[in-house]
Point group: C2
Chain length 204, copies 2
Amino acid sequence: MTPRVVDKDTKKQEILLAALEVFSRKGFAKTKMIDVAETAGIGKGTIYEYFRSKEQVFAETFHFFMQKSELLLQDAFSKTDDPVEKLRIFIEIGLVQLLEDSGEFMSITMDFWAEGIRAKSTKIMDLFNLKELYDHYRTLINDVLQEGIQSGVFKPINTLNTASAIIAAMDGLMLQWILDPTLFDLKEVAEDFTTGLLNGIKRL
Amino acid sequence: MTPRVVDKDTKKQEILLAALEVFSRKGFAKTKMIDVAETAGIGKGTIYEYFRSKEQVFAETFHFFMQKSELLLQDAFSKTDDPVEKLRIFIEIGLVQLLEDSGEFMSITMDFWAEGIRAKSTKIMDLFNLKELYDHYRTLINDVLQEGIQSGVFKPINTLNTASAIIAAMDGLMLQWILDPTLFDLKEVAEDFTTGLLNGIKRL
DNA sequence: ATATTAATACCGACCGGTCGGTCAATTATA
DNA sequence: TATAATTGACCGACCGGTCGGTATTAATAT
């Protein structure tokens, strides 16, 4: 009744995996659906059994990719209650681990930014919901900062602004590192940044 | 002998102005050369009398746009020798003034990022020389930080890493603000960031 | 002054190529 | 055999860039 070589979800995952490979190597614009199909070892038409459009494939590819870091983060966060340690972990995972594990894949994030901004005033903007993504992380850091202030570790700073700035710095460093990975050592820069940040917000 | 309605350079500027308007509204990919031509009130073919390709128009548009901030910056820097003040000015101009003056135009920067990254391994990469652009600003800040350390205002920090982080934060904040200008007040966030930064690097 | 010639600016119809998406035909499964 | 899954040839829209022709101006000739 339901003849199928593999499970429907499994096949979708396979397509996403192929898409991740191609998108990160060629970028959104230069990637052709036929590339994705061939990489996945299937016909082009098959993709459209699982996805509506190229945009949808791209958006789901990005989210698929982001799940990794989300899981890493949740796992790490569950192991400590110290706000200082949480900040360290957030930067370490978000910047160092993500890039070291899959540096070449990160340019997909740039594409997502670009497409997301481009889509701001179109109907596909819900696929590229950057705002929601940022809200999520901003809230996460905001809560950590609030905790720190409550417990007296941090100065009474504007937590939302600071959270925004932390995420901002991480994004920006990622950008610069992608442009020229030899310029600075990512781990070292991350540590310097964390130190400087804590220097600025810790109560003396 | 040289029949021409307006000066050749003037016309090129007019095209760039039109291009700036269209590129910032529609992004690189969605902008058609005919859009630029119509906005400039000329024929499509005429553009190719002044530029080699769409990529060249885009690259020159971006540089044209960046000159504004460069001039602002040089002017402001020439008025003080205080490293602390220079840092303030850099952030104020780079983040607040640039966005307040022409917020809607800034999405062109994202496109430039995206195209620049995409062009990394192609022959047009010299048109989208992001690396050089970043090097310029990084050096600028690096020098300011060195001065500050020499004169004893700043702690002995890694200046290159710190410079990278400062630029990174500014880029990232710009991104977030473009995504949602209502989320935070740019001026306030810039001030908070500057305060936090100085808190972290100033000698006590 | 006017006609003629020359040089250049300007234009937009057109071309070649590309690519996302469709669908009739084919293959695999039960 | 019936049904579901897969495929890739095909379609139509799109677009960057070209090129032959026209318009405009200036220089020169008469």
